[in-house]
Symmetry: none
Subunit: 397 residues, 2 copies
Amino acid sequence: MEMLLGDAEVVAAARRLRPDEDVADALARVAWSVVAEPGDAVAGTLIGELGAADALGIAFGGSRQGTFALLDAAGSGSRALSEARKRWRPRADPRAVRDALRSAHDVGAALLIPGDPHWPHALDDLGVNAPTVLWVRGRAELLVAEPRASLVGARASSGYGEHVAAELAGDLAATGTVIVSGGAYGIDGAAHRAALGVSGATVAFLAGGVDRAYPAGHQSLIRQIAAEGAVVSEPPCGAAPTKWRFLARNRLIAALGHATVVIEAGWRSGSLNTAGHAAALGRPLGAVPGPVTSAASAGCHRLLREYDAQCVTSAQEVRELWGMGAGSSSSARPVDPDRIRLLDAMSTRARTSVDELARRSGLGPDRVRALLGLLELEGEVQRDDGGWRRIPAARGA
Amino acid sequence: MEMLLGDAEVVAAARRLRPDEDVADALARVAWSVVAEPGDAVAGTLIGELGAADALGIAFGGSRQGTFALLDAAGSGSRALSEARKRWRPRADPRAVRDALRSAHDVGAALLIPGDPHWPHALDDLGVNAPTVLWVRGRAELLVAEPRASLVGARASSGYGEHVAAELAGDLAATGTVIVSGGAYGIDGAAHRAALGVSGATVAFLAGGVDRAYPAGHQSLIRQIAAEGAVVSEPPCGAAPTKWRFLARNRLIAALGHATVVIEAGWRSGSLNTAGHAAALGRPLGAVPGPVTSAASAGCHRLLREYDAQCVTSAQEVRELWGMGAGSSSSARPVDPDRIRLLDAMSTRARTSVDELARRSGLGPDRVRALLGLLELEGEVQRDDGGWRRIPAARGA
């Protein structure tokens, strides 16, 4: 650990970046983001259990008692640690840590770590694959503004796809939704641009460092997002956007959005990877249909057929997605905000009368009765002499 | 009954049409198809319980002991019979029966009744709403050939929709599937034409008599279907294609297909009526997606969102539908026969109480209330002080 962080220049650089904070944890996390690739579960397990600084000690010091047991418990095993050390060690250079800090300072990027007010807790759902730090150019507060919709899609988009992306993003941005995407050509670019044109509230997750505009043709778009929205990366400045980092970046897009919508995607588009992460995280997943004759929509139709994605045709239908919550996608029913209000007003234990439910939910008694009929058919609620109660969800998390 | 069938000319006409058969049952059924509209549940109940000939005796003779009890048990009630008699009596003219038989003979239409080798048992799933007879020009054996796919859609179709209809129908026909549709402009016509170009195995259900090509612009198409496939009607020759008969005809299309696929449909397209029948019958339901910017696909997207229709993009995916069977579509909204019973028990004009509906439909009051809640949400029924009434279908044919 000394090896990485003992350098006075490193500490000075860190203080410059976080003048009002205790820099020890931040520095250790930066070191982790330099030595470990995004989503490194061994690093995530160590940091989660020991804290970033002690984890760094384990990684680069002796093998402290209990570490192997910890990793065994995490399913990683002691061999995983020795393998991980082999990955990390070649990168353990204090100059790399110092350069990451300096470059961030040069481009005006902020360093976010868990516990910071703008750290997006949504990413904590990634568990041991959660990011160690985030580097942010622009309005970090957008990471915690609500609601947030992740709109993604193919780089090789059609005019139709770009049109729909712009319509949805523009309409959502106009009603206060933060538009999250990946800064790529095609659908991503169309979504960012539309949000910039309306509210500026858009977040671009890059696969490489925030100092590197990628793709090159989006240099001015990414500059504009950094000025009005937020450009965010997990790897430090200077990191190249490798294929692995693209895939790892997708999980952040999926985790940050209250819902992910794939607007256009080929049969094997990378957007399906983002969609898969969203589904795995229990985030509602939408797909925009298109002509069956268009290869650019084949991936969306695949999501509708094979992944129980919700068919989405308008911004309103995107907004309805976050009403659905985890696990409810397959039976994918509507999405009536009144349903949620009514279910919120109900108990799984106590019976409640229709009139009392009407009072609690703010819905009319007729509406309550109609909804109860529906929910009863769906096995969500149950009636007996004492009134109505909610049936506890048997669904997995 | 004598009044209708005693005419020697009528019997002679019937014998000409079915030279090798006992004509008594056939004649009584023809008389029923003349006096009762398609899907008349009172007629269906009487015929189902007593046979066509005795049912005719009840309908036009004295009120035989036990008939009212029978209708009560079927949830129709004695008032239903007296109402029905008022509907039937003005049409009880032996000349109409004779004309139906003669016209059928003149255009070479065969008369099919239950028990005939080519009677499609799939239609028996319609219960008391099953047709009494079918009039067929062309290859009646197609009605029992397997598999059969019902491909339907908007008259106001787009070039995209017609292209997809032709692709799906042509590919399905090439692999031995009978293409069932409604002979209309737009999607129906494109599906029939593609099947004619490949195998000829296509069935057109008309809303009026088989002697009347409707729409007029499809005269030569319908002639060709009669020559190579089959043109089928429930009402007798000479019957005009009224709005009601279009809606009633849709249930036959839905019931005959092993699956129904809506290829293109506006938000309130009549094809959604066919889709609703298919779902109610437990037949797998598919919908072809299209651009969200196309009003002609809005109904298909609605089926995907609200009715759990399966997203279908190729003939192979249509074929996969019949593997799915009743109720197994993704989360497959059940298809509840009770819904149909309840709606059948309701009037579009008179308000009816829950208890009365329970009595008529033979369902428990709680079940009735739950279903009403659902149907109200779906815009099928409406409640006010006087009770519940059914909202008339606003859908075009």
